[in-house]
């Protein structure tokens, strides 16, 4: 049961990482940053800009 929980937790953490939700949480951890629509857009624009400067794999 404990192992299953651990695997489930790991899977959710992977999905959050792939969805950029973990990165956003790290972004908010910096002093003076609060979640808001404008903050998410600022974070997301910068992250997506960098991501799509690189080729996707075939």
């Amino acid at each position: 049961m404990k192992a299953l929980k651990k695997i489930g937790g790991m899977l959710m953490a992977l999905l959050r990482e792939l969805a950029d939700e973990s990165a956003y949480r790290r972004h908010l951890a910096a002093p003076g940053r609060m979640h808001s629509g404008a903050e998410w857009r600022r974070f997301s624009d910068e992250r997506l800009r960098r991501r799509y400067e690189r080729a996707k794999c075939c």
């Binding site: 969805a19 939700e21 979640h35 910068e46 997506l48 080729a55 075939c58």
Partner: protein, 672 residues
Amino acid sequence: MRGSVKRTIGWLAWGAVSAVAAVALGVVALDRGEAINSMWLVLAGACTFALGYRFYGKFIAARVMALDDARATPAVRLRNGHDFEPTNKWILFGHHFAAIAGPGPLVGPVLAAQFGYLPGTLWIIAGCVLGGAVQDFTILVASMRRDGKSLGEMARQEIGRLGGFTALVTVLLIMIILLATVALVVVNALKGSPWGTFTIAATMPIALFMGLYMRYVRPGKVLECSLIGFVLVVAAIFGGQAVAQSATLAPVFTLTATGLATAVVIYGFFASALPVWLLLAPRDYLSTFVKLGVVFMLAVGILVVRPSLQLPAFTRFTDGTGPIFGGKVFPFCFITIACGAISGFHALISSGTTPKMIARESHAWPVGYGSMLLEGFVALMAMIAASVMQPGVYFAVNAPAGVVGATPAAAVATISSWGFPVTAADMESLARAVGEKTLFFRTGGAPSLALGMAHIFAGAGGRAVLGFWYHFAIMFESLFILTLIDAGTRVGRFMLQDTLGHVAKPLGRTSWMPGVIATSGAIVAAWGYFLYQGVRDPLGGINSLWPLFGISNQLLAAVALCVATTILIRMHGARYLWITGIPLAWLVVVTFTAAWEKIFSPLARVGFLAQASQLAARLGAGGLTVAQAAEARRVIFNDRLDAVVCGAFLVMVATILIDSVRVWAGVLRRRG
């Protein structure tokens, strides 16, 4: 005492894995006659990969790359919460795998199955362990030790300016061929299919909705939004079935290959110029989750259904007369499998985001080496999906009309005469079961892969759900191919703008709209041209485009291995040169032979110039109608263009190779 018992148990366990690998490989390689079960391929792959990971991968990690957890990684030293962030190794493993897994390992093995399941399977297993995983791993470590530098930057730093510049131009050219090839796969999968076309068309408004939802309605809720998007896409698959059965709507969504190619080109242009948050990013999130889910489902499906392989170990087409693409098993099997065994594009990912997220040096072993082995496993599953079909059906779907005959009756007669019996009634019944009008001449690999996957998924649910799973598989393949087209066009535009910016400054500014439009148009026109060429090719297009893509991708791997070899020589002299030197030598032999044959083979089915000469002779002899003559002139021009592109790849990689050898000799001389 306890330690020695543990060690003994460990050795016994690995001995057992080795024995299972040997038996499974023996069955796969030597069994003839009766159809073998797909589990033998799974066992052979899983056990060999486990051994490769545990022993060869660990040897490279410990002795060659000398991974040391005491050395701080850039993720720790330069931590900024964005790019540089120490990440749990299994999360990073999933992240890296999601980034390297594209359509290549799925489509390549399906096409290579024309030689039988054995050549491709053996190359996937050996190529992954000794080549692909080594390349991904060494480049990942090299980039990690250089603060996350890209392959191009490392080529410039380790080999020289010429090598760096050539690597940049090679990547741009490869991207153009790649985009045209994968676009052709989508076009061939959707032509004449209102169900498939509607489903894919519906993903555009769904992605737009997701983009707006994530940006303005529920900012930051990407997982929640992706789940909604997935439900909507599944609804679109059911909607597609209704559209296909509607007398009014079916004709609207029934497009010809040329019509679909036009739609994909227009889409590519607009999608690459639109803000990424609106279309590209939401679909990319969705496609990543669907991709991981489908790979998992396919693995579970194969384990549950355990289907038997219907294709023989070898077909008669190892002699080079294959209907899907011309050329002998050597070298063409090795370039067709592409990313399933070794992929140059992986080096771009291994020197991109991943090295900036590694928390400890030792994590590079599972992330770099292990992810590639999992990708090899995906390729094996694709090989199984292609091989569980009746061979007659497999060839009827994948062979172009120009080779087997333009009508179903002619096609089944030709294919049956090869010893792979199939009837027009079988094909019609199968087409009806998956909700399509016909499955003949669906070149490109995607439809046959979808059929194989549907066959496996429907194993539990019966023939009634075959149609749903077939279109689910088509949706899954098209979804991430369109994301690749969109992102690839955008990256190509950036590269072009970067280069043109040296000539005219405004063209280099990504915010200057006329520059954006002009460079997007140029990139789309470049891959769109090759796409049209493929669509109008009487031999199906894949015959010429996939080998070009395979050659270019493997040549990029050769560039990456040149960089890795240079780094190993700087670290250890000639001692471990063989680790990257052997796969590099193999790739050079394979790709240069394949490229040479594609250009100069005297067989018209293989060589571009031979086909051009044959058509020129027919044109010279007269007797063609005006339309036929115009068509012949166009094909002659395209054949010559393909030969030039192929030759350009060879020259560029030969340049990097010669430059590398010069650097290696210098380093070895200095080390004495």
